[in-house]
Symmetry: C2
Subunit: 234 residues, 2 copies
DNA sequence: CCTAATTTCGCGCGCTCA
DNA sequence: TGAGCGCGCGAAATTAGG
């Protein structure tokens, strides 16, 4: 609570130096759809409660012109005939953050894609299986466990409490789990893909997006350049 | 090949107006890691073949100061003690393009995710199937087509050329395709997920990223604001 | 801490061009 | 003929020397 050491900032930051006035100019332009040098000067003048006299105004106005000129040179504002419009401005750090976030996002998606691609073949298998089931679906159930009897052209003789199978060439007998292991559902021909699967998945298999390396650590001076890059490779 | 009409641009655009000098100042600052107002003024002066001495230099130097000031106010450069550094600048249209590309990319990924999520359950089914196969794999084959005989506790009597099955409670007989249709491979309990599948896939099922709507069509005045948004929601 | 040299830059006169 | 602004004087700020 002691007295503050006297700061030598008589007017904290509302002086009439070009640096300060420039900020106010930018602010003003940013906040109005369209304005004029004169309006800006007037607005700024209002922020100086003190002297409100011709000379002051003339001075500020003169400074506003300076500021507007370099703002225009920098393409931060546009000025046609005396209509001044804000065109936007953003700096290095901000862009850096943005770049980073874009990059991160891309990386994440890349990984997802990769994970999916690695498993996509299995997915295709199950799809084929279900497809087949759909076509030949019947009402009848098969309870597990069960017995599977395979063979050429066996004869089947069904009694009320028994079944007799006969075959001239012998049988293959197995339980239910054997069947599953023989299905080879994961094999497929590439031609059968398009008719059964969305393009999206097919593209994924063929795509090598996730192998593409890319170095964003370019020494950044010219953003226009960088923007092009960012925009092009998705 | 006729003579050109006389353009009234004696010096195309290398005049000493603040607007022009500002551009040159920006260029100069952008191209050097660090520089000083004096260096800039000297460099610019070189671009004027004509210009004699002292007076010209003083004038240009004076203008450079103006430009530097507003550039600094705008946070496009930083100036500590007399070391001037470029901090970056980018404008509305460019940012707009960037924003668009980010958004497009996000949309695309969203769709991919959605497509995947829609099919992920089927993928899980096949995975379970193969898991089971792996556990109980045997050497024996089952050839298709085959016959499947299910029932409680049947007796099996195997001859050299026939097989007799007897059961007190009757049989269920079906062919191979029936079995497939009864497997219900697409049913699973959520507890069995973590042990069998990569987190990536599990997250995908639970995630509702692809439902999240989001409106980027904000009326954009303040980029700092917008940047925050862009950076936050992935 | 003081003086000189240098660097910055406030300020506004007066010319220009629409 | 008034909005725009080139231009440069001279004062304030900062740095160099002692």
């Amino acid at each position: 609570m002691a007295s503050c050491p006297p700061l030598d900032l008589p007017v904290p930051d509302k002086n009439k130096k070009l640096i300060n006035l420039s900020k106010q100019v930018l602010e003003k332009v940013k906040n109005s759809e369209v304005t004029t040098g004169n309006q800006i000067a007037k607005a700024i003048l209002k922020d100086f409660p003190e002297s409100t006299y011709e000379a002051e105004f003339k001075n500020i106005q003169r400074r506003v012109y300076d500021a507007l000129n370099v703002l225009q040179a920098i393409d931060v504002i546009s000025k046609i005939r005396n209509e001044i419009r804000y065109k936007g401005i953003i700096n290095n750090e901000q862009l850096e953050r943005m770049k980073l976030s874009v990059e991160q996002n891309r990386k994440r998606n890349m990984q997802k894609k990769k994970a999916l691609a690695e498993n996509i073949f299995q997915y295709i298998a199950i799809h084929k299986l279900m497809q087949r089931n759909k076509e030949q679906r019947k009402k009848k159930l098969v309870e597990l466990p069960c017995l599977i009897v395979g063979g050429g052209d066996a004869n089947i003789d069904i009694q009320e409490d028994s079944v007799r199978l006969t075959s001239p060439i012998g049988f293959t007998i197995a339980n239910d789990t054997h069947l599953l292991s023989r299905l080879d559902l994961h094999c497929f021909r590439s031609e059968e893909l398009p008719e059964n699967f969305p393009d999206e998945l097919i593209n994924l298999i063929g795509s090598n997006d996730f192998v593409k390396t890319e170095d964003l650590r370019i020494r950044e001076r010219d953003y226009r350049q960088m923007l092009l890059q960012l925009t092009e490779n998705q």
